[in-house]
């Protein structure tokens, strides 16, 4: 058979039809353009968001690793780790000393750490922003940060300079001169002196010692499954005190990947709906034209080819435009916007990947193919006569019960139920974007710096007396003296302040409580065997602390306890709360047992407190190996003449009140004991987290808004198409006496029904999905909370749009034409 060369005429007709329906085609190109743009933007912006989230995690963790081993490690374990097929890199580090004093300061926080080449060059590298000099090689060399130097009281030291410091290692206290070999800055623990292997070996510690050696593991794949985690754990044959911990992202990587895939699917679905809607409307609007073509002899195949050809041209222009526009927005507009928001340009790295280009093109093209298939089939199958009378009415139903109630409400409802599939598409699209908005804002809110940073009792500032960390009571100083308290009382911005009293105590051996505590303590935290006889003979070496808290703090603490204690007994000094310190203590081990203790400065008199309950809050963690007891401040003041205040927890009247904070900082700076203070400020922490996050929030919000835009566009084109196809019907109703006001009211009611259904969808299914996604990504255990304000604004906005769009479409489509003209559209 010879092939009939009719492609030329098809080509000609396709071209003519494209040119003749300019307005319609421009609409279609715009829809495809928008979809391609959205898919491209979502991938680029989403990719950038995840990249930035990754950067945030690296910065918060202080390096790029998936797991770390705590509790020392053996050579064999390291080898096992390195030879695992899933592992890319294994870095080792060892803590071997801490700074005791320098000529400028005697309350230091700086530790000495050694890191192997893998750790320094691979794991930690991504958390560094600057590095000058080199990693220490000689025993007296040290690599520092400005923060570590500042903590020790050194100013203006640089590479090549030297300083003297007293440090404590396994062998005791030493004073030594160090030369600075390098200076780094970046994220993570910065009050650290990195030292050479030679120095580490001299400290008397080994990497296998408990609390000294650490392994940092980076996996090859970004998704680390539970199976991979278990495999590594099994290979390493962990000892009792060792624990292998996975970073939040790694532990949940499968869930996070699933969540991401879900998000991408929703986006693709929304884009699909957008194109489908507009193509469907366009082709079904052209049905009479295709019928006409059939009457003049065009075959089904030729009609399909005609539609296909037009789609290729329209799709090509639309996709090219969309991706071009997307590129401009992603690479020029977003960085510009972010820059105007005050974020340094260096922080913005928009993800560029050729796969995103290809994938966006493929996805949009596939969507066009899918969404044009059904209308094309419709055009092919319709008979010429049917086509001539085609009015876009779905006529599957035969009967319809006579409705009751207001006629406008009934007709509005009818619009929603008439073509259930179409209504579902619109509701689903609006609901999907609203749901994604809900999901993203909930996730973003939970990732907000202020949510991540939450302190004990929601304190704005915690002031520490560093001298109470010293072993010798003679070195303790009363930093928070009367003058200081006067300053706090005077400051109007402070809502409340709670002083914590600390008293060093000795709990002598006895079989009922002290014995149980000490044996469990050694099991868990001490790398040496428990020597009962030594404890019995020298209980002063096994000191601990008695902590005094005020009534309000007690009430707070008591409310967090599984088994609260009697407030009366606590106040009367009969009962205390024990800090568990991570020990495996059962209720029966401690409940109602009496702890006997002596004061460090007066060992003759002994006191007894009944243990009422236990707390796990490490806010009460203290030095010493004995049990830390929490009692009422009145009780502590009764037995100790002038108890030391170890920390003050302050809440401001207004959260994040910078003025009050600066008053407090000034008070500390003006004190004689300036160097012995330290503090934790919520404002500072929020700032640090914000810095670590870069512009993650902005990008996330941008993404949510983009999605909402897709939903709204879907609604706009469906509704305008709907009104376009209903203009005759509306003109008929107007001819029999429907006033313009009534038409508008009917459209408003329709809008309200659409908006209401979408909100209902979001409130049920959307909320469920959001909750699931949230919990699967919620490794920080942040409580689920819906950001009410943005959601409320979004709902109002959607309702507003749903009401306004039909009005505007009606005005645009029907506004200028008389009833007769509109009725004639089909005649």
């Amino acid at each position: 058979m010879f092939r009939n060369n009719n492609q030329k005429v098809i080509h000609k007709i396709a071209k003519a039809s494209l040119l003749a329906n300019k307005r319609k085609n421009v609409m279609m190109i715009a829809a495809i353009c928008l979809s391609a743009f959205m898919i491209f933007c979502i991938f680029t912006v989403g990719g950038t968001w995840f990249q930035m989230k990754n950067a945030q995690d690296i910065r918060l963790n202080g390096g790029q690793f998936d797991a770390w081993l705590y509790g020392g490690f053996t050579k064999e374990q390291k080898i096992q780790c390195e030879t695992s097929k899933n592992v890319e890199a294994v870095g080792a580090a060892g803590f071997c000393a801490y700074g005791e004093k320098t000529q400028y300061d005697d309350t230091l926080h700086t530790i000495f750490k050694w890191a192997d080449q893998t750790y320094w060059n691979k794991i930690q590298k991504s958390a560094r922003t600057t590095m000058k000099g080199y990693y220490p090689e000689k025993e007296n060399e040290v690599l520092v940060t400005k923060d570590a130097l500042k903590d020790c009281g050194f100013k203006n030291l640089g590479i090549g300079d030297s300083f003297q410091i007293t440090y404590v290692d396994a062998k005791g206290s030493h004073t030594k001169k160090f030369v600075i070999s390098g200076l780094w800055d970046g994220y993570g623990e910065k009050t650290t002196f990195y030292i050479s292997k030679a120095f580490f070996d001299h400290t008397g510690y080994r990497l296998s010692d408990y609390g000294r050696g650490f392994l940092y593991v980076k996996f090859k794949s970004p998704i680390v499954t539970g199976k991979m985690q278990n495999e590594l754990r099994q290979r390493m044959h962990l000892g009792e005190k060792q624990s292998l911990m996975f970073t939040g992202d790694t532990a949940q990587s499968v869930e996070i990947a699933a969540g991401m895939a879900g998000l991408v699917l929703v986006v693709c679905f929304s884009a699909y709906l957008l194109i489908y809607n507009i193509l469907y409307l366009s082709v079904s609007g052209n049905i009479r034209y295709y019928g006409l073509m059939q009457t003049v002899g065009m075959t089904e195949k030729q009609i399909y080819q005609l539609i296909q050809k037009q789609m290729v041209w329209i799709g090509g222009i639309g996709i090219a435009g969309g991706i071009g526009f997307g590129t401009a927005v992603s690479f020029f507009l977003i960085p510009e916007i972010v820059k105007t928001l005050g974020i340094r340009q260096a922080d913005i790295h928009v993800l560029f990947h050729p796969m995103i280009f290809l994938f966006s093109i493929f996805l949009t093209a596939f969507t066009i193919y899918l969404s044009s298939w059904k209308p094309a089939k419709m055009a092919m199958q319709i008979s010429p006569v049917e086509a001539m009378g085609y009015r876009g009415i779905s006529g599957k139903r035969k009967l319809h019960k006579t409705g009751k109630g207001n006629v406008l409400w009934r007709m509005a409802k009818e619009q929603l139920t008439k073509d259930k599939k179409k209504s579902m598409v619109v509701i689903l699209s609006l609901g999907a974007s609203l749901s994604v908005f809900l999901c993203l804002t909930t996730l973003i809110e939970s990732q907000g710096a202020r949510t991540i940073v939450s302190n004990y009792m929601d304190a704005d500032m915690v002031l520490y007396n560093d001298t109470v960390k010293k072993e010798d009571l003679k070195d303790w100083k009363q930093l928070f003296d009367d003058d200081f308290f006067k300053t706090i009382k005077k400051e109007k911005g402070i809502k409340e302040a709670h002083a914590m009293l600390s008293q060093k105590i000795i709990v002598p051996w006895e079989p009922d409580f002290a014995e149980i505590w000490m044996s469990k303590m050694y099991d868990k935290w001490v790398d040496a065997p428990y020597e009962k006889e030594d404890y019995q003979k020298n209980p002063q070496n096994y000191f601990s602390f008695l902590i005094g808290i005020d009534e309000k703090e007690f009430q707070y603490l008591n409310s967090t306890l599984e088994q609260p204690v009697s407030g009366k007994d606590f106040k009367a000094g009969k009962v205390c709360i024990l800090y568990r310190n991570g020990l495996k203590l059962k209720d029966s081990d401690i409940k109602n047992k009496k702890v006997k203790f002596l004061l460090d400065q007066n060992k003759k008199e002994s006191y007894k407190l009944r243990v009422g309950s236990m707390t796990d809050d490490n806010y009460y963690a203290n030095m010493g190996i004995g049990p830390t007891l929490i009692a009422s401040d009145k009780f502590v003041q009764n037995i100790v003449r002038e108890p030391y205040v170890s920390k003050i927890t302050i809440q401001y009247k207004e959260e994040y009140d910078k003025e009050t904070e600066s008053v407090l900082k000034n008070a500390m700076n003006q004190s004689h004991f300036k160097k012995d203070f330290s503090y934790e400020s919520k404002i500072d922490e929020v700032r640090a987290v914000k810095k670590a996050q870069g512009n993650m929030m902005g990008i996330g919000i941008g993404m949510a808004v983009l999605l909402a835009f897709i939903g709204v566009m879907n609604y706009i084109n469906t509704v305008s198409g709907n009104i376009q196809s209903r203009q005759t019907e509306m003109a008929v109703m107007e001819s029999v006496g429907m006033t313009e006001k009534q038409v508008k009211k009917m459209l408003v009611l329709e809008g309200i029904l659409f908006a209401g259904s979408s909100v209902l969808f979001t409130g049920t299914i959307g909320l469920g999905i959001t909750y699931f996604l949230y919990q699967s990504m919620n490794y920080r255990q942040i409580p689920f909370e819906i950001p009410v304000l943005p959601i409320l604004v979004m709902i109002l906005l959607i309702t507003f749009i749903c009401i306004v769009i039909p009005q505007v479409s009606y005005r645009m489509i029907c506004g200028k034409k008389s009833i007769v003209e509109r009725i004639r559209c089909v005649e």
Binding site: R391, I393, G395, R397, K398, L399, H400, K401, T402, G403, V407, R410, M411, E414, Q415, K418, T728, E729, V732, M733, E734, S735, V736, G737, M738, T739, E740, K741, Q742, S818, I819, V820, I823, V826, E827
Partner: protein, 229 residues
Amino acid sequence: MESWIVKTEALKKYYKLGDNTVKALDGVNFYVKEGEFVAIIGKSGSGKSTLLHMVGGLDIPTAGEVFIDGKQLSKLRKEQLAIFRRRNVGFIFQNYNLVPDLNIYENIILPIELDGGPIDHVFIGEILELLKLNEKREALPNTLSGGQQQRVAIARALAAKPAIILADEPTGNLDTGTSHDVMGLLKMAAKRYQQTIVLITHDQDMAQLADRIVRIEDGKIVKGSDYDV
């Protein structure tokens, strides 16, 4: 003096079509007495439908006035015009123009419902009976034949008990037998409810059923116009 229920004065309707001006109506004076059945005949494009639309307040004239039952339509605002229409005018179109989403009964009572008035179910029942639509009350328009749809359109036009019924080629899409049935029903109903009918047709046979025939050509009435002028 005669009581004119419909009266037009020097009614003009001009359209722009490219560079040309089409004079659809060119100074028409048209009068209809209360209870009268008037047929307007003319060729396609002669302006008969335009005249009907002007009389029904569906379109706005370029010049001239339309009075219905003494009310000057140009003095009514759009909103008032719609209300006036649903209370005083019943339309029957060639294409039936039923609302596809509403069933037969809902279509018929639509003008009354839009007006918010009470529905005289007995009266509607009577119309349904008269037009033989009783069994189709809950059917949707697209399931009915052309003749049935046109009967529904007639029922709708009668439902609000309007003073005037304007019918634009109501039998244009129907076969001869059905056409006669429909016309018979229309005439009978109008008579029973004392309504005035203005019918447009190009079918001479149908026109013969009317009390008076008006011929229109090129936008001007050429026969049966100046009734008493």
